[in-house]
């Protein structure tokens, strides 16, 4: 059993024993609140720390859960075990609306919308007669489970902590899965994720909805714990406090949510006691401390306190090394490959204009299966733009691209990736805090299907093993198997480029587009890369590469397309291109 699992079980057991021990009621209540808060912050860890979005409206989602539970159980005597799902349904509906109107735009519109939503809901709750206005709803019944009453704080403790820990385990499982990698890819910008076939919009919506659901469940628990609801715990200020908990504890880590919730709850209690005495008047002075601490944490410890806790206990918490259990996994399905010599890519007069500037001027060329085609030209010739037009990253002003006989001109990069065209980037795009293996496994996204719920319940392990086996196979292919467990952020530029190639190969492409694969590589590394690419060609792979290193291009390619000022100059075999006076003129200028 891994050390981390042992520690988790140790703490879970400790928590389970607490109510049976003579712990004062005060601390049980505190722990109950900490569990409730941690469940909400957990959603923010997922949203802010992992996906790079944020929300100030989590308290409002807690309110939706709480008010639904209170209203239905008080007025219609509906069982809490039913109201939780009604609350979740309402929460999901609201979250979907907020996500739909904001997530297609840049990241800061979501928090602004959640802020407006938090305020609106607060004023709605405070003014609706049937929600009891500022007094709220009183007399919420206690929960019962199989006839057992959960009225006491000590018995309710179990429900709160079972929910909180299950949620934490679910999120930990989720992050280490196909869906989890897709969510983590959101922070690395959309272009790479989309090129791997990931719908970034869909996953942004998913994360926001998941975070809202965690908040809603916490609200449901809250209503039956307090036995009364009123608007004040769901105001915007509380929403900001949840974010504060996540940031303070460590927004990038599941256990940071628990650390933050515990710290804020305990410190808040002390401050509310001491500050009014210090200032000689009552009021919420703790906000001054929270605000200042929040700014200081973001300045000096942006990753929060949890990573420091981990460092302190590093001896007892060895970093998690992935167990290699995928050796005997079945291979992932492969797509049918085109026949050698078949017309694979047909670029027909593609054009890109940025205002008055023609970056790519009606360029046409073709690639047949099994060919390595080089795209060369002086700086600014429009090579990378042509690449982006072919792979769907940029939209074309005019012209057609046919891939395997199908017109893909109007398709997004994600759809083109799905059809078997994969690419690397001129500036390496990777996820530095994932291992090399996980980065490469991202390429296998389209070849697998396990979803969120499967991942949380660990029902995706068979497929996960297949994915990791495939990722490892591609790493072996390019000779990087020894660095498999290294964090991608620790790689030098050369190996990082190689890793991108492995990731692209992991998508099982029919055509591979490499944007300056040899840039920044040392001589030996270049030779190794050329060997790998020849080997790929031998296996029937087709390649299009943009490259500046002439030796590399001339020795490797079958045909070369030369571009200058956005226009195709000539096309031919390396020997023809080398002999061409136009190409010389383009690179070196002409004699007068």
């Amino acid at each position: 059993m891994a050390a981390r699992t042992r520690w988790f079980l140790f703490f879970a057991t400790l928590l389970a024993l607490l109510p049976a021990l003579p712990v004062p009621e005060f601390w049980i209540t505190q722990l109950n609140y900490i569990g409730l808060y941690a469940t909400v912050s957990l959603g923010l860890v997922l949203l802010t720390g992992v996906a790079g979005l944020t929300s100030f409206g989590q308290a409002a989602f807690v309110g939706v859960g709480a008010y639904t539970a209170a209203f239905l159980s008080v007025n219609y005597q509906i069982s809490p075990w039913l109201t939780v799902f009604i609350g979740l349904a309402i929460t999901v509906a609201v979250a979907l609306v907020l996500a739909a109107v904001t997530l297609k735009m840049s990241g800061h519109y979501l928090p602004l919308a959640t802020m407006a939503w938090g305020l609106s809901l607060y004023y709605t709750m405070s003014n609706m007669d049937w929600l009891g206005k500022y007094d709220g709803i009183l007399g919420v019944p206690a929960m019962t489970l199989f006839g057992l009453s959960l009225a006491s704080g000590r018995s309710y403790f179990y429900l709160i902590w079972v929910v909180a820990l299950l949620a934490a385990v679910g999120v930990v499982h989720l992050l280490d899965s196909r869906t989890g990698r897709a969510i983590r890819a959101l922070k690395g910008g959309v272009t790479m994720a989309e090129a791997m076939g990931i719908s970034t919009y869909r996953y942004k919506v998913l994360v926001f909805v998941l975070a809202a659901m965690l908040a809603s469940i916490s609200g449901w628990l809250f209503a039956h714990f307090q036995r009364t609801v009123n608007p004040s715990p769901f105001a915007l200020g509380k929403g900001i406090e949840y974010l504060f908990m996540a940031v303070l504890g460590g927004v990038g880590n599941v256990w940071g949510a628990f650390t933050g919730a515990a710290l804020v709850k305990v410190i808040e209690e002390q401050l509310q006691d001491w500050l009014p005495r210090l200032f000689g008047a009552s009021g919420n002075y703790e906000t001054i401390v929270f605000g200042v601490v929040l700014v200081i944490v973001l300045k000096y410890a942006p990753e929060g306190l949890w990573p420091h806790v981990e460092k302190l206990f590093a001896r007892f918490l060895p970093s998690r090394q992935r167990v290699r259990d995928w050796a005997d996994a079945a291979p992932l399905p492969e797509r049918s490959k085109p026949q050698r010599g078949e017309l694979l890519l047909d670029v027909d007069r593609v054009r890109k204009q940025f205002g008055g500037l023609v970056a790519v001027n009606d360029v046409s060329f073709q690639i047949r299966t099994g060919d390595i085609v080089g795209l060369i030209g002086p700086n600014g010739a429009g090579k990378s733009t042509t690449f982006n037009l072919v792979s769907g990253v940029l939209s074309k002003t005019s012209g057609r691209v046919r891939f395997r006989g199908e017109d893909v001109s109007a398709l997004s990069s994600r759809e083109i990736a799905r059809r078997g065209l994969s690419r690397t980037f001129q500036h390496v795009k990777m996820l530095p805090d994932m291992t090399v293996l996980e980065n490469v496994a991202l390429g296998g996204y389209l070849r697998s299907s396990a979803g969120t719920v499967q991942a949380m319940l660990r029902l995706d392990r068979a497929e996960e093993r297949q994915l990791l086996r495939e990722a490892e196979r591609q790493l072996v292919r390019i000779g990087m198997q020894d660095q498999m467990h290294e964090l991608a952020g620790n790689l030098a530029l050369g190996p990082a480029r190689m890793m991108e190639i492995a990731r692209a190969l992991c998508t099982d492409p029919a055509l591979l587009l490499l944007d300056e694969p040899a840039a920044g590589l040392r001589h030996k590394e270049k030779q190794a890369l050329a060997t790998v690419l020849r080997q790929l060609k031998g296996e029937g792979m087709s390649l299009l590469l943009v490259e500046h290193d002439m030796d590399f291009v001339m020795n490797l390619t079958d045909r070369i397309v030369v571009m200058e000022f956005g226009t195709k100059l000539i096309e031919g075999t390396p020997a023809e291109v080398q002999a061409s006076p136009v190409v010389r003129a383009a690179y070196l200028g002409t004699e007068h």
Partner: protein
Amino acid sequence: MDFSIASILALDGVTNGAVYALLATATVLLFAVTRVIFIPQGEFVAYGALTLAVLQTGQVPGTVWLLLIMAAVAAVVEAVDGLRQRRPVGLVAKGAVLTLAVPLVIATVAMVAAPMNLPLVVQALLTLAIVTPLGGLTYRLAYESLADATVLVLLIVSVGVHFALTGVGLLFFGAEGYRNPSFWDERFNAGPLMLTGQTVIIFLASAALIVLLWLFFERSLYGKALRATAVNRLGARLMGISTVQAGRLSFTMAAFIGALSGLLIGPTTTVFYDSGFLIGLKGFVAAVFGGLASYPMALVGALGVGLLESFGSFWASSFKEVIVFTSILPVLLWRSLRDPHTEED
């Protein structure tokens, strides 16, 4: 509703809209130059109104102490940084003195002038002098060292600053609300409409400030430097424009606009230590209407928010906030359909 009620509501809406327009302008300015989504903009509004209210009672307002504390902390932080970077001690000391000089002068004047019961206009000017430097100091303490962080991090810093400034407001001004005397008690009648002197001042001051800002950005070198920083920070830096100075200048302007807005609305409504937040956020909704980028669209948005609020409070008074803040959703939807590009951070 008949015409006279509608026209009264419209006048009311446009009056509030004029103030929201000022705040929206400040929001757009800050976002463009520093990429900071400045949630605490409204706190300066409350500080402005309440500082004047306390001066009216002949006492020294707490914002004076806040000014001194923030200047002292800024001076210490900068001195420590300077010494760490092994800059000459003389230069570091000079920097600290410069940081402290202006706030000290303002605080001294405020303490001497507070009990003198000076005319309202002089007190208003004093209020502007006290609150305006808080903007630059806020930037120096909270944002400057994070200037290259993501928009998301800067936004979270903003809520931290909002929390702190609201709490400080409670500490210095108490939970009680204040209503300032009107700057001009004249009343004009035009049909069913009654125009108070204060309304006229609000219109004139807003219009004047917007024209001044326009002249500043179009005609002055500093204004052009700010615009350059907004377009491209690195490019501006290469042209010798200090992005640090641009940040401090724009925050100072934002605080000035906030304090002025506070002076303008002070006589029309009771202002509490936390009133600024909602007022500021309404300026925000207006700024979002312009995509946090366009000044003219933000002005249109501000008038829209003002009108929505006044008509909303007529039809469903207790839901006017709900109406105003929910209106951001259709606006966002419209923006999302119009310009659906997700920009890469």
